[in-house]
Symmetry: C2
Subunit: 221 residues, 2 copies
């Protein structure tokens, strides 16, 4: 049985899935001093993702050591990981991650990167191999489905990539961790959605202490 | 004991609390024929508010007759009404409502309208009286608090008025009925929020069949 195609992201109550820039994640102390916005953007990203960091699963998956919170949020994070047999990722998310992920990245499955760059597969510790796909979103999804077997394919991000798949009618369902924060600016997750083609069915909704976890099925209109 | 100041609105998953225009609500058949967008905008507004129309409370409050759904969504709609001792409203929402509400409007309390127009109070059937306030948002809120007694003051809308009160630090909490729909365009509820001053605390979150009902407390940053 073929798996589903889904995405799962954190979103602020005002609809942003990322701050204006992710540069704060990797900036040198010198650049931070020159541009104080970097710290603000980093703080916003931390707030957006705040529900994840304390979780036992998050620590375990990144080999940060024992401990961490259990409970529903932890179960949701673990289930999201466990259902994923392969991921598809945009070039910009990969470019950032290439510099930010540890040598044992958190995917532990094949990841198909949409890019114009020709590059041999890049194998990392812990079962993550990045494959570079040059012939479009359908090809990347086909390859990810094949690799995932009967598990699901996650469109990992960023939001531009997610929207490409959503507007093409290729997403079966998605989950949003709605964080109790207003960013005021940043990347609007659904900016550019083809609302005339995408209908949603609310299939699950539950709160955890730091977010509300929403799941929708996607139907054609 | 003084009541709280709150707002309660429906919002699409992509953050819109209204379609591009509300003109569809009152347009003549002739205008609809000339501008087919009117029907689309009206349909979007209906989708945004779809959780409300089937409720027993909605029918009862607008004197549409017996029947309607009970359950949590109905309880939430009824509780929102019952806690409200007075409302504050922007001029544009009033202008639309003046033409759209029935002669027994759904408020059944005093409503303070922010406007530059000088006008005597307008008393309607069923206990709704519109008072026209010319000296700003603080004055309107003071008058609404006074009228509400120990019940709460609702900032009824539209979103520009809601944002004025939110950014001024005058809102204690708010509720959002998050509708499972993507509009793609319209009025972004939080567009213009002063994110550097508004912090949120998620205090309640629960699904009903047609929406997820979120409640946040507002704190200064």
């Amino acid at each position: 049985m073929a798996g589903k195609v889904f995405f799962s992201v954190s979103m602020s109550l005002d609809g942003f899935s990322a701050p204006v820039s992710m540069d704060g994640l990797l900036a040198t102390p010198e650049r931070r001093k020159q541009d104080p916005r970097l710290d603000r953007w980093l703080a916003q990203w931390m707030e957006l993702q705040a529900w994840i960091f304390p979780l036992r699963f998050f620590r375990e998956n990144l080999h940060l050591g024992e401990g961490g919170e259990e409970g529903r949020a932890n179960d949701i994070a673990r289930e999201t990981f466990e259902r994923t047999g392969a991921s598809v990722m945009g070039r910009r998310m990969f470019d950032l991650g290439e510099r930010a992920w540890p040598e044992n990245p958190p995917f532990h499955t094949p990841v198909f990167v949409l890019t114009h760059q020709q590059r041999e597969p890049w194998e990392r510790k812990g079962g993550t191999t990045f494959h570079f796909v040059n012939d479009g979103i359908h090809s990347a999804l086909d390859q990810a489905r094949e690799a995932a077997g009967d598990r699901d394919v996650r469109i990992a991000g960023g939001s531009e990539t997610i929207l490409q798949y959503l507007n093409a009618g290729l997403v079966d369902e998605f989950s949003i961790a709605l964080s109790p924060v207003l960013l005021g600016a940043g990347t609007h997750l659904f900016d550019g959605v083809d609302a005339s083609r995408v209908a949603l069915e609310q299939i699950h909704s539950e709160p955890s202490p730091r977010a509300t976890h929403l799941t929708y099925a996607v139907h054609p209109r």
